[in-house]
Symmetry: C2
Amino acid sequence: MIDPSEGPVALTRQLCDIPSVSGDERAIADAVERLLAERAPHLSVHRDGDTIVARTELGRARRVAIAGHLDTVPINDNLPVRDIVDDVSGEAMIWGRGTVDMKAGVAVQLALAVELAEPAVDVTWIWYDHEEVSSALSGLGRAMRNAPELFEADFAILGEPTNGRIEGGCNGTLRARVHYAGKRAHSARAWMGVNAIHRAGAALSKLAAFEPARIVVDGLEYREGLNAVRIDGGVAGNVIPDDCSIEVNYRFAPSRTPEEAADVVRVFFDDADSVEIVDSAAGARPGLDAPLAQGFAAAVGGDPTAKLGWTDVSRFSALGIPAVNFGPGDPLLAHADDERVPVAQIDAGYAGLRAWLERGA
Amino acid sequence: MIDPSEGPVALTRQLCDIPSVSGDERAIADAVERLLAERAPHLSVHRDGDTIVARTELGRARRVAIAGHLDTVPINDNLPVRDIVDDVSGEAMIWGRGTVDMKAGVAVQLALAVELAEPAVDVTWIWYDHEEVSSALSGLGRAMRNAPELFEADFAILGEPTNGRIEGGCNGTLRARVHYAGKRAHSARAWMGVNAIHRAGAALSKLAAFEPARIVVDGLEYREGLNAVRIDGGVAGNVIPDDCSIEVNYRFAPSRTPEEAADVVRVFFDDADSVEIVDSAAGARPGLDAPLAQGFAAAVGGDPTAKLGWTDVSRFSALGIPAVNFGPGDPLLAHADDERVPVAQIDAGYAGLRAWLERGA
């Protein structure tokens, strides 16, 4: 059983200790649903698989969606969680799988969902399954397709780890396979062939020298990245290779569409024989010019920055809802085996979000 | 049964039609051994596995080793052989597996071994197994280790296809694996890592621009080659790769030792984290300044050129025996599914070798 009455830090420990690797979220979703049924009669609760949507229906002028995923990456001898003191900073921490990504964020949200029967804005609380796996499996994406009306909102907050600061929007991401062709020949007579691996060298040198753009969108700076992530070529130890392919990953500012990003990649590799777009996902503009976003930023303090990794804010962005990331924990520790979250960030996140929801934006 | 009495062209057809893919040479070796026992009492015959060494013991002042391999690469719907007329040249040809590499050469040798009871030099005829596979399996190498005294000679002729011209010595070959290291990072924050694939770009560009040397050894020009033959790197589609390795093949002139060749490769890739020599095989100097070699060249005519691919002449060279390649067929058709040898080259090779062996060098 989970119980928010001892506060969000204790609730973080409880949520972490319910194993919920992607595909195995039923137990934690059941616990959340039961808690809401018993302790949050002010919420109307909907369930889609292991995704739970719980809404206030107060008739407020504005509505905010606040979301977090329930799943984690695989456990690696790092459950149950432990209380530790960080060697370097001396901070009290909770150590273990899910502490950063993102049970602490879910705990802050779930405690407030139960406690705040009459927030100043209507709130749609969302906890969902299958975030840490292929985008096609996403519980948030599925629930949005099945009942889009449940997700209408003026602003969205996603509890992904941001060290308790606001990180707006996110970069888009695109993968492409870049092919260089050649002509086979025996390597004793290399001049009768064309070496495809050698042909790929110019593109790699260009990548090594390339300075990706830093693009300001709605006041936040997005740092792009263009990288070879895989390379493969060759036939045999005595054959001039006739094929070499480079897989590249382009992280692009949310001011570009995926189509525009694909054009950037095609132009960059204009010496290739083909550029095949493998997959792509749009970024999300930070939307910090929206009044609700500005009020939220003022309430929680600190200078908002750009989110660099792709997150589910882009699913809200695709529905026309400005969205930011805001959660406890260092995003660089997400998925790390020594994942750990400072207790103080959980309390601060809880206090900031509570103040804003009570006072209204 | 094989029967050289109808000449080397008919014998070529007979030898080709005994399937003898590497590892399956017993039938052809048995046929050769039986023929020699019945028709060549002037030879002393030794067998080691499927390698046969047949020597005249005439007490001549000089001895010549004449060798050819009995095996072929796999059959691919190209046996039995057929007589064809070449579309372009109008030449009469024998088409099928082994015609070029190197049953025609073996047929010329075997016919002369039976016919010439009293050549002007002593001759050591050698037909061996396992040439088309790993060097460690070579029947010639094995027989040389088991009974080195059988292989002593002043000059050696290997019947590999050379279009009926003398191709002297051979290039050496060396394979190396060149490693570039990096540092992993999430590709959304590429600047926190070091991209090993990007680091390999400069080496590939250098390879693409590199003009390998042409080196004159004993009067013949050897064209070197330095090529990437395989490349491999990458971890996942969203990870900056921490490793990239390039496999390179260096074909080096016989004036360099394998150790010197390894140094050339290490200096070329001086920006790599490591250069691992995978294997190497020495080349062979052409030895055309030896009196026997000069006499042979004069007898068969044409301008000797350098052999570019590695061949077993280097095994003779390693024993201090000057060695050349001389056989019917276009080396560019070796291993091709439409392998085919001009009948005229078989007859000419037979006539040239016979004249030289009868007249003495």
